[in-house]
């Protein structure tokens, strides 16, 4: 698109008398701006000489004349005209000379100043008082009050950036283009302003406006627009790259995500409308039930929850059994890794988003240096945020190896890691790409293992997930339990999920892709704060697989409670986002995925649900025994015999098995010293539930907010350890 010019669309219908003067005045106006320009006349099949006049003018001025092809009405003329414009700034003006074309000069200045849409504002009228009054009343009630826009929306003269129009879909009736355009531009986060003008009386021709019917048409549209669903709009890429600068506009905000991932598979909207209604309805029914029949309502709720718990016990048992009996991790023979022909290795890109993590940068560079991959074929991209001055200063002051590039991610919302990764992906040169967090210490052989594995798995495997664990597991009790949890997740549960070929929520780092595959997957959802979980689910839904490789990346376990809760609440919030995104069309989801749809309920939805409900069930259990004489009878009432049996089974065996799985995880990872701490898990589960409630609160209040986890709390002890000590678990 050529942005260096202005295209003005002039819709005409029997305007032969005023067209010449209009074109002349427009020519004068744009000559003053020094901009290239064009005038596009769209004639709505005039009965007079409008077309002939226009064609004559075309000899003199940069005028192009077209006969309208579509339905009658001004709006259609405008749309056809816009479609034929060639410049980046587009405007339109009625041909009746009631709007002063000279005002385009001031409007153009506003565009240059940064506004996206400039509309004329009729402050002085030469029209009859009745018409003026009606216009003002309409503007006040239907534009200001209904839509909150302080503009003269129906003014027939506007100037705007062409991409404003490209972000929206419009299907206006003859007189409803203007308001819809402004409302949608505003909703898309565009900057709007107005330029005061005098609205003159018509000099020639007749007005086409039928005051009453046109007004009614516009009013109806105003109301419809107010209550229509505000769908997110796609922000197109800037042009140099298919995703650079792309994003989503929603609720008056512009999010530059550097991906063209469609909004319907993104968490930009937390809930689909029916989900909101469903949730509200659920709460309302529950509340009503509690008033009308409290016992019955609670009994039904308890029965439902118990059934889910009961099924989950068996699902997890099945996963763990599969994981233990047929471990699916891709094992790579030592000799293969050691004898790999380095000359034939492709470029491997490493994306490392850093935000306020200056302290960990030296450690990361050390870890990367230790990677067994020819450095000239390494493409390490450090993704720094434009506003993170401290990390920027450290990174720019640090002597960086030739294979490391600093890439500054331009400031934009949402400020999330996946957004930065999408940006980094644009610049990744490698045939393969992996994400590492800045505090990561990957197994030095990991890239070779992944490369080898990619060569030996089918094309349906789009992602290889390395196992994650922690290097500071012995720092305190929290890190011990956190490590046990990671060992369970990565060494037992993920492998179990892989065994049954179901959806795998990826770990935040150390996921390897073929770069082209990742591009075709549209990268990450920048709105999802657990983007890895979402990407794993998306991979599965689109018919691909994730495999786990037998390689470990060590990370820094959160060692401070508040920091831990922040991190966990973000993860859980992301799980909820993922759940609601992929459950927007539940029937379709079930049709496409069969029983895996049920697995998804347990793996993603159930995981959070249990975290939220667990404290209630524990309280009930403790209450039952501690205050037996007061509470036992009531609690027993809530659990009919069958439900009681299932609940008791889930309580005893479910909790025990969960607890035991942690031990199995530690055992698989050979973390024998952590085994005894697993007995303290109930405390850990409790704080997980606290994080769960924070997650729900945040999901409702600030769904895209990225709770930053502070790393680098273990920098000194880490530096005291040699890389060899840290990665002693790694074997080629």
């Amino acid at each position: 698109m050529n942005t260096q010019g202005v295209s003005i669309v002039i819709p005409t219908l029997n305007e032969a008398g005023s067209l010449a003067e209009l074109c002349e005045r427009l020519e004068v106006t744009f000559s003053h701006t020094g901009m290239r320009h064009e005038l596009i006349v769209i004639d709505d099949h005039s009965d007079d000489d409008t077309v002939e006049v226009a064609e004559q003018l075309a000899q003199q001025y940069p005028v192009r004349v077209y006969l309208k092809e579509g339905t009658p009405g001004k709006a259609q003329s405008l749309l056809e005209g816009f479609a034929r414009t060639k410049y980046g700034i587009v405007g339109f003006i009625d041909a009746d000379l009631q709007y002063p074309p000279e005002a385009f000069g001031e409007m153009f200045d506003a565009i240059v100043a940064g506004y996206d849409v400039v509309t004329a504002n009729r402050v002085t009228h030469e029209e009859p008082a009745v018409r003026v009054l009606m216009s003002k009343l309409f503007t006040y009630f239907f534009v200001r009050l209904l839509h909150g826009l302080p503009f003269d929306a129906q003014a027939g003269m506007k100037l705007f950036r062409k991409d404003v129009l490209q972000e929206m879909t419009l299907a206006p009736t003859p007189w409803t283009f203007d308001l819809a355009f402004l409302v949608k531009a505003h909703a898309n986060g565009r900057y709007l302003t107005s330029v005061d003008i005098t609205f003159h009386t018509r000099k020639a021709g007749k007005s086409k406006v039928k005051l009453l019917s046109s007004s009614l048409e516009i009013m109806k549209e105003a109301v419809r627009l107010r209550f229509a669903r505000r769908r997110p709009a796609t922000i197109n890429a800037l042009g140099d790259h298919p995703t650079l600068g792309a994003g989503i506009a929603y609720r008056q905000k512009r999010f530059i995500t550097h991906t063209t991932l469609p909004h319907h598979v993104s968490a930009v909207e937390t809930f689909a409308p029916w989900q909101k209604i469903g949730l509200a309805l659920g709460v309302a029914i529950m509340a009503l039930g509690l008033v009308v029949n409290p016992l019955g309502t609670v009994m039904i709720a308890v029965a439902g929850i118990t059934l889910v718990y009961f099924l989950d016990v068996f699902f997890n048992l099945y996963l763990v059994k599969k994981s233990l009996t047929s471990p699916p991790e891709i094992q790579i023979p030592t000799s293969v890794l050691e004898n790999m022909d380095e000359a034939s290795l492709p470029i491997y890109s490493i994306l490392c988003p850093l935000y306020k993590e200056a302290k960990v940068l030296p450690g990361f560079l050390k870890a990367i240096e230790a990677l067994e991959w020819p450095k000239k074929k390494l493409d390490v991209i450090l993704l720094l945020e434009e506003d993170d001055e401290e990390t920027l200063a450290v990174a720019q002051g640090h002597p960086l190896p030739s294979y490391v590039t600093l890439l500054i991610v331009p400031h934009s919302e949402p400020k999330t890691k996946p957004k930065a990764c999408n940006y980094g992906l644009i610049y990744a040169r490698g045939e393969y790409v992996v994400i590492y967090d800045a505090e990561d210490v990957p197994d030095p052989w990991q890239l070779k293992k992944a490369y080898y594995a990619f060569g030996h798995v089918g094309p349906e495997v789009r992602c290889l997930q390395a196992k994650l664990n922690y290097f500071n597991h012995d720092q305190n009790l929290l890190t011990r339990l956190f490590t046990a949890e990671y060992s369970l997740w990565f060494d037992v549960m993920l492998t179990g999920m892989q065994t049954i070929n179901t959806t795998i929520p990826l770990g935040g780092t150390s996921n390897h892709f073929r770069t082209a595959d990742l591009m075709s997957l549209e990268g990450w959802d920048a709105f999802n704060v657990t983007e890895d979980c979402d990407l794993g689910t998306r991979l599965f839904r689109w018919g691909y697989k994730t495999a786990v490789i037998d390689s470990v990346t060590l990370e820094e376990a959160n060692s401070r409670l508040k920091n831990w809760i922040r991190q966990r609440s973000r993860w859980l919030k992301g799980y909820l986002q993922t759940y609601f995104v992929h459950m927007r069309h539940p029937w379709q989801f079930v049709r496409e995925n069969g029983w895996h749809a049920l697995a998804f309920q347990f793996i993603v939805g159930g995981k959070v649900l249990f975290i939220l409900i667990n404290p209630i069930m524990w309280l009930m259990t403790i209450g039952y025994f501690v205050a037996y004489s007061w509470l036992a009878e009531t609690i027993e009432l809530l659990f009919p015999t069958v439900i009681f049996a299932m609940a008791a089974f889930s309580l005893i065996f479910g909790n025990f098995l969960q607890f035991y799985y942690y031990m199995i995880g530690c055992a698989k990872r050979q973390q024998w010293h952590l085994m005894k701490y697993v007995y303290l898990l109930p405390v850990y589960w409790l704080i997980t539930s606290v994080a769960g409630y924070v997650a729900v609160y945040q999901l409702l209040r600030k769904p895209h907010y990225w709770e930053k986890t502070h790393h680098g709390l273990y920098v000194e002890p880490l530096q005291a350890q040699t890389h060899e000590t840290l990665t002693a678990h790694s074997t080629p």
Partner: protein
């Protein structure tokens, strides 16, 4: 024409063995069932009754499981015990013993295969187990011994595989089977501690303390989960986690009574405890297999060609031996050998617990014999076993028929069977003392008010005349809780002693007081 590949014979050995074991099991059950021996153990009938009470009675439900006996076998009965035939034939309880018998035979075979023993020796070992009259008898009854043998042997087998491979799945598997054994008999509790010690000690020795500790915790957490559940269950049902150990019907109480009577001779006498248990083994297993097994065990442990892992793993097979000796020594168990201690065979069946272990040791011993004498030795072992089977009455049957393990309840139960079915009203009886009567009466469980019926029992022992038409109790015996509780109640005077038997007496409410009985009892619950 299609040709299917013949299945190699060695792949068919185990299925064939299982088929033969199954046939032997069924024939054995039919034999003992038809000869009226399947239910002579008083305990067998009580086990069946416990299972039945879960599904039928005045207050059915899982809380009926509990008290002294561990719950797994009762729990496993739930699927079949509702059927009157399965209950009264004893099949509901025997069927699990039969399955355990077949599986244990298979495990003996697999255990020996795992340590490289040849087919002949494996089959001889299994034969030794299968041809043992006491094993065959116990597998045909609703007793718990066979289930214990299965769970313990399976635990030992899985442990062996773990010792050999260091694979986590086997360690967890071993823990699981040990956990099941802890829910069958208290012998399993010892195995739990013993095998945890083995896991810990061995790992510490070959790896390091940390790993030893970790693996021991991993093992014990699962293996001991059954114990935890049992304590929890006792706490929930009886409000005392140690009710099973110190409650009124516990072994502890029983042993205290024996001790006060001066017949708990093994207590604090290690030598005598060993002697009694060795005799019990000899009576159950046979002297020749026992000696051969001891030799086999020594050969196994001193065979340097075997890795220490296998030799240490096989130590777990000794758990029943150690448990029983320690239990006798500490006075936690009682076992009589006629002529040696006591004048009966009470609990002599405990000697059978070492049967699978002895079979395995014999199998190994045979395996290492020189080829020249292997066949004659195998033939000799089989001959001795067959001879014992054909010409000796099992000591467990003696215990059941004549020892303290049986009680002559037939007179009382026959009376109930003749008088109660066609009349309205309930029978007040202590299940702890007279479960065999309940079983043999042929009446449905819901005709009895016993300790497990909660409020029914509480009310009936306060005002029996309002609740029970008949009372069965051992008059003047304080051990009989019915007598102990109602002896001073005014209601007792409204009853007539209609029958007095050596074992217990039957009382019936006088006709003029029948209207006192609750309408609900008179009509509803029947």
């Amino acid at each position: 024409m299609k040709h299917s590949l013949p299945i190699p014979l060695h792949n068919m050995r185990l299925p064939l063995l299982i088929a033969v074991l199954t046939a032997v099991s069924v024939i054995s059950f039919i034999y003992y069932g038809s000869s009226g021996l399947a239910l002579v153990y008083n305990d067998a009938r009580s086990h069946l009754n416990i299972g039945r009470r879960v599904v039928e009675g005045l207050t059915p439900g899982l809380p009926q499981i509990g008290s002294v006996w561990l719950p797994l076998t009762h729990f496993l009965m739930i699927g079949t015990i509702w059927n009157d035939f399965m209950w009264h034939s004893g099949l509901a309880g025997a069927i699990q013993s039969m399955i355990a018998f077949v599986a244990t035979g298979g495990i003996i075979y697999l255990y020996l295969r795992e340590i490289g023993v040849g087919v002949l020796s494996r089959l001889v070992a299994v034969s030794l187990f299968v041809l043992n009259v006491n094993v065959l008898y116990l597998q045909s009854t609703a007793m718990t011994e066979l289930m214990l043998l299965l769970t313990m042997t399976m635990g030992a087998y899985r442990l062996l595989r773990w010792f050999k491979s260091d694979s986590l799945i086997y360690l967890i598997g071993a823990a699981f089977w040990v956990m099941l054994s802890t829910l069958v008999r208290y012998d399993g509790w010892f195995l739990c501690v013993f095998s945890t010690t083995l896991v810990f000690g061995y790992t510490w020795w070959v790896k390091n303390y940390r790993e030893g500790e970790g693996k021991a915790i991993l093992f014990f957490t699962l293996a001991g989960f059954g114990i935890f559940l049992w304590l929890l269950w006792n706490w929930l049902i009886f409000k005392d986690p140690l009710y099973f150990a110190f409650g009124p019907y516990s072994a502890h109480t029983q042993q205290s009574q024996l001790e006060s009577a001066g017949i708990l001779a093994t207590k604090h006498n290690l030598w005598f405890s060993i002697k009694v248990y060795v005799y019990a083994m000899a009576y159950n297993i046979g002297v020749v297999p026992l000696v051969a097994g001891a030799v086999g065990a020594l050969l196994l442990w001193f065979n340097k060609r075997f890795s220490p892992a296998i030799r240490i793993a096989s130590v777990s097979l000794l758990a029943p031996l150690l448990f029983n000796i320690i239990a006798l020594f500490l006075g936690h168990s009682v076992l009589f050998i006629e002529g040696l201690s006591g004048q009966s065979w009470f609990n002599v069946r405990y000697g059978i617990m070492m049967m699978p272990s002895i079979a395995i040791f014999v199998g190994y011993g045979l395996h290492v014999l020189p080829r020249v004498i292997k066949m004659p030795a195998a033939a000799g072992v089989i001959t001795v076993a067959l001879f014992a089977l054909l010409y000796q009455e099992g000591v467990t049957i003696l215990d059941a028929k004549y020892g303290s393990s049986q009680k002559n309840v037939s007179q009382v139960s026959a009376w109930l069977h003749a008088h109660v079915p066609d009349q309205e009203g309930l029978v007040l009886i202590s299940a702890a003392s007279h479960d065999a009567i309940i079983f043999s009466s042929g009446l449905p469980m819901k005709r009895f008010i016993h300790e497990g019926t909660g409020d029914w029992w509480r009310q009936a022992t306060q005002t029996p005349d309002h609740w029970a038409r008949w009372i069965v109790m051992r008059t003047y015996s304080e051990e009989d809780s019915t007598y102990r509780l109602i002896k001073d109640t005014p209601g007792l005077q409204y009853y007539t002693k209609v029958q007095a038997y050596p074992f217990a007496d039957v009382y019936e409410l006088k006709p003029q007081y029948l209207p006192r009985m609750s309408q609900k009892i008179a009509q509803g619950v029947q």
